[in-house]
Amino acid sequence: MDLFSNLALGFATAASPENLLFCLIGVILGTLIGVLPGIGATATIAMLLPITFQLEPVSSLIMLAGIYYGAQYGGSTTAILINMPGESSSAVTAIDGYQLARQGKAGTALAVAALGSFFAGTVATVLVAVFAPPLTVIALKFGAAEYFALMLLGLVSAIALAHGSILKALAMVVLGLLLGVVGTDIYTGTPRFTFGITAFADGLSFVALAVGLFGIAEILRNLEGEQDRTILGAKLGSLFPSKADLKAMVAPMLRGTALGSAFGILPGGGAVLASFASYTMEKRLSDHPEEFGKGAIAGVAGPESANNAGAQTSFIPLLTLGIPANPVMALMVGAMIIQGIVPGPNVATDQPALFWGIIASMWIGNLMLIVLNLPLIGVWVKLLKVPYHLLFPIIMAFCSIGVYSVNSNVYDLYAVAGFGLLGYILLKLRCEPAPLLLGFVLGPLLEENLRRAMILGRGDPTVFLTRPISATLLALTVIVLVVVLMPSVGKKRAEVFTESD
């Protein structure tokens, strides 16, 4: 069969000593830079991109792919250890991962994240190799109406992200949507809520929002009391997950992988939903939904698997169409072009060694990541023993550099301070940041696709119902809404709320 000869070619390419070396260097660099607070995958790749330009095309892209996975994993590590996510996906990991860390189970959380990522990465790599072309066909069926329906479904599900009051979670989602609207309106060019600052014309920086809302607000909270303690609330537990932990992560990992693989193939923002959707799903299916937000293993395993599966399958549009699905992929395209390879629909046939080499290196990269990271967990966890008064100035230095390096925009730094303040106030008022973050990510997509669907549908609102995929997604949205508002569920939530206070 073709597939086997192709995979053989891929592994032969990716497993050549120098490509293995570049993959390893990429994974290590990606992890080390990505683990710095406030520096997520996009910033890491942007920083490390120039070093790959000197290499052969295949080696360069393999190294870049390694950097990408490494940075993703490094980003999750910071999210778990100090509640500072650098990417929308790791924001979800932070919710329960950080709570686990405070309970002395950082090692467990990190190991669960690593294992979940590896499993998801393996499955998704196979998916990419076998099903890339048919999956592309599905992805292309998604137009504006479908994206709008998908975003709506994502937003409604977001209510489950919070463990407190539904009303507050909804208000946070809406606030996030509003903040997401800031910037130039793409349809008319009108600046909205930018206060005349051109630097905000392209919207507020996601990294600034995530760092401020999660990381800085948490630092401020920690500064309230005595300061010679460490992040660790309790005694440091076992570094590795117990058998029970491993058992608890299997089902979420499987579901997360499926969700992430499905969302990842959608260019144009599908992937951002994957980890949020997985979290929602796990919370709904769990026998102990009250544990979510307080250190549930499933709340780390599911989203991390979804995230990594999505990261893998988001290569599909790039590899089969030559179209980048997200900013990270856009950087990959740039790297390809610099190397003299203009990606397009023919990359697989014109450059089989490159195409299959990248796919093979995805799996090799994931393997290296787990080999590298399981022993590193011990090192990362020791960081939690660093006294807090030494830790937070270091965090502030890194996150300032990280936020600035993305776009060399000083206003992003002012935004960090603003969002830090907002995050702290909201924290004091017992409003959880995750729904706001989801709203912020989805807001522009929701509005953009709503308006585009109306233009393309010549002003006919029934387009959302006459297109089958869109209609199905909207029906799902209604079902989720009903489930959320059902009295029994409501009562359960109320109990949770009382307990948590």
Binding site: P50, F142, G143, G189, P317, V333, I337, P345, S408, R452
Partner: protein, 325 residues
């Protein structure tokens, strides 16, 4: 550390000694090339390719810094305010000319804020359509639009983008009220074109060439003055009877106003050397473009180009009535 302080001291002394001393040894340290768009985009690619070649000639590294945002005006504004010592330069495209009209409260004046180094390249554009769109050629498209303009949709990558500029030209040339659908960037717009969600787009050949070759979209015409080497069968817009649609996304290299002529001349000489390099021609060729002739890589040529283009685009943008501020 000591090294850095010494470094600062040298810089300070050089500043004291005035411009001639500075220019004699120019460049004696690393140069920053600001690209006012995201890393990995077509402009960034042009910048990095040219920076690499010029570094070799200058004997000093040119590093590319991406300062994206607001249609390139953020990065350009930053260079306008940078020290005029030749160590900060700007690679910008046609947006330098269109932003003069598109942005009504720009912090700098494109014509007054910069010294010129030279033109780099001019990327031709292609008018493309979804694969199953009815008209089979340019003549067919023009006939089709006579009756169906209001139900025909045309994508662009946002206000001020290359595809938006070309779309404006096209609509004014054919005088048809086609429905414009903006996207956030070329990627999403191209995806929807591939998926058949939208009918037309006019974009840089860099973005369209591989898709046309792959047969996933079809091309009607190129906006270049002559047929393209990679698509010899593709009509030019002039051949199709739309000469006003001729347009290219030209790139130029600038320095802040007041940069000593010694520095800009040195940079310009280096640019011309890079443009003549066969390696650059080959790499640009893969992007569907070519370096400008060596005599265009000069300050005078770029100045003339910018002035001409500002005058050309002002009425087009004002007629369309779309502003980006």
């Amino acid at each position: 550390m000591a090294l850095h302080f010494k470094f600062a001291a040298i810089a300070a002394t050089a500043a004291l000694m005035g411009t001639s001393a500075l220019a004699q040894g120019f460049p004696d340290r690393q140069i920053t090339m600001i690209v006012p768009f995201a890393a990995g985009g077509p402009t960034d690619t042009v910048g990095r390719l040219i920076a690499e070649k010029m570094s070799a000639d200058l004997g000093q590294q040119i590093i590319v810094e991406n300062v994206g945002g607001a249609g390139g005006t953020l990065g350009a504004g930053q260079v306008a305010e940078a020290e005029a010592d030749g160590y900060t330069i700007l690679l910008h495209h046609i947006g330098m000319a269109t932003s003069a009209t598109l942005y009504r409260n720009l912090a700098y004046k494109p014509l007054d804020a910069f010294e010129y180094v030279g033109l780099v390249t001019e990327v031709p554009m292609t008018l493309v359509a979804r694969q199953d769109f009815e008209p089979t050629d340019m003549a067919g498209l023009l006939t089709y639009l006579k009756d169906n303009a209001e139900t025909t949709t045309m994508a662009n990558a946002g206000i001020g983008s290359a595809s938006h500029l070309c779309g404006m030209l096209f609509m004014q040339a054919v005088e048809a009220p086609i429905v414009t659908v903006p996207y956030k960037g070329t990627g999403p717009a191209m995806t929807e074109l591939l998926g058949g969600q939208i009918d037309l787009m006019c974009d840089q050949t860099t973005n369209t060439a591989e898709q046309i070759k792959g047969g996933t979209i079809k091309a009607y015409a190129t906006t270049a003055p002559a047929r393209l080497d990679i698509f010899p069968d593709l009509q030019t817009v002039a051949e199709a009877g739309l000469p006003t649609m001729e347009v290219g996304i030209w790139h130029g290299l600038y320095a802040p106003k007041g940069t000593p002529a010694e520095a800009t001349d040195r940079l310009s000489a280096s640019l011309q050397k890079a443009l003549a390099d066969p390696d650059i021609a080959a790499k640009f060729g893969e992007l569907g473009t070519q370096p400008v002739a060596a005599d265009q890589g000069t300050p005078a040529a770029l100045k003339a180009k910018l002035e001409g283009e500002i005058t050309r685009w002002q009425p087009i943008i004002e007629t369309a009535g779309v502003y980006a501020d």
